[in-house]
Amino acid sequence: MNDDVKGTDGGVIGRAGGGSRRTAGAGGSGGSGAKGPGGAGGSGGNVIEISGLCKRFVTGRGSGRRTVDALDDVSLTVADGSCLAVVGESGSGKSTLARILVGLEAADAGEVVLAGRPVARRPRRAERRARARDIQMVFQDPNGSLNRRRTAGSAISEVLAAHHRVTGAEARRRVEELLEQVGLRPAHARSLPGELSGGQRQRVAIARALAAEPRVLVLDEAVAALDVSVQAQVLNLLSEIRRDRRLTYLFITHDLSVVRQVSEEVVVMRQGRIVERGSTTQVLDDPQHPYTRLLRDSAPRPGWRPVRAIGRDAAEVEA
């Protein structure tokens, strides 16, 4: 309850802070942070504070060995209650960022502070569990995000049981509540993923994430695999949920039209670096960085003619 109230304030502050343009990993303090969260010991109004995050992947062996810097000194703050979109082409490191945040991947260097608590780089199980109560993730693939042999209800109650002491009857009641919150019927608790549509599956995945009652939801291309009308429904649902629960979203996407719909702030990533950050309208209407411009101009829209040599343009961006 208390957290929720703080969340609203933080959100307002965060938006105010995000208004000023920042570039290239200069993660600001997220505004004034007048009312810092007390209980969790948060700092200012930021629920996520990332500084100097690096992650390098090594592929191949011997002479074929190559390294890829998925994250190269990324610093970022997300204000409590805000929605930050992270955009970039595939391979820009945005998914790696998400996976490190939720603890599925270990960073090589850098620090992550979640809800005021620094998180271990290689978390043990108990730490992971504690972290999961603060931050949850919704994955891209609606086919793979649910166990095809277990019911939607059991997917949700598994998370419930992992984080809260609930009796069987309570859990069932909570599962039904959560399903209703994501626009499904209680009867869907008994459906197998194969009996649900892609949109319904993604709703179940959202309900599963909400079951932990997190403060932050990381949405990793959560609507990318859905067709446009379903996408709009799920996006509306996500907005509603954020408003009702005063959640913080980290919205990872490559789709700029989605960004406009959901988030007030946006970070543009390229080759593991943040190239631009600012309010959504500013960044998308008046991009400062050439890469952002390229990204915006590459997005399909009515009357759009594909840019042919995207490689050459990228090279120009480089220069």
């Binding site: 939720v102 603890g103 599925l104 199980r125 108990a126 730490e127 992971r128 569990r129 504690a130 972290r131 999961a132 949850q136 993730m137 994955f139 891209q140 693939d141 086919n143 793979g144 995000s145 649910l146 166990n147 095809r148 042999r149 277990r150 019911t151 209800g153 059991s154 997917a155 598994e158 998370v159 992992a162 984080h163 009857a169 069932r172 009641r173 039904e176 019927r185 209680p186 009867a187 869907h188 608790a189 008994r190 459906s191 197998l192 993923p193 194969g194 009996e195 649900l196 995945a205 599963r208 994430a209 932990a212």
Partner: protein
Amino acid sequence: MKTAVSAPPARRPGGPAGRRRPGGGLSGRLGPLGVAAVAVAALLVLAALLAPVLAPYEPDIGSIVQRYLPPGPEHLLGTDQSGRDLLSRLLYGARTSLLGAAAVVVIAGVGGTLLALVATWFGGRVDAFIGRVLDLLFAFPNLLLAIIVVAVFGTGMAQATVALAMAYVPYTARVLRSVALRERRLPYVQAAELQGLSGVTVSGRHLLPNIAPQILTGAAINFGYAMIDLAALSFLGLGVQPPTADWGLMVSQGQDSLLQGYPQQSLLAGTCIVVAVAAFSVIGERLGGRAAGGRA
């Protein structure tokens, strides 16, 4: 107790969207040949189970004056070099052969599954280490490995079974590892993992049920091979010891008679092996083919 209105997961078709469950009718998955194979396998198992009832004579007791009797009303399939009833020996032999192969498959299946899950869950160095050990075991031919183990621990049915099971572990482990690895990368496993659930919980609750079809398929295919290999070990005198009835041993003991013009024993026991192996292989392949093709 109170308000158990929302029914426990007694899942029936006709739920919210009563669609067909993945992998519907078993007979549909097996096809006609598969169904026939299942029937043959069931018949063999039944014969083994009911051997004491069905067998007209004691399998180990014969009369030397009744040796090499041709098939007739007294002895339906004739007698062997010691005057023992061949039908009775085949029935009892089914017990040893099927039980031995089943034991091999179960031990190898459990061992292989555990190794695969451990390798998959921990990944990295653990995976690499398990992989190297399996490679090492792969370097030995199955039967040779079994022979070495038998040489160390002595001959006998139990030793031969355990030895063969050990030789089979690398095969099951390798196949299951690749299946489990594919599953491990799916978001639902990661969703469970990021809740801070233990590896045992996630593996048991999520990975194991989803690789179960492959475990069963592998078991069915291995069953046939295990029968052949066990028969070979018995043939070499390393497995089942006389006078116990066993198909492999019968083939081996029929050798002398074969040379003397009485091929029944070797032929009959050999036919039993071929039929059983064929039946289980067909079942395994049918299950495997459909399981691989019919994934959601």
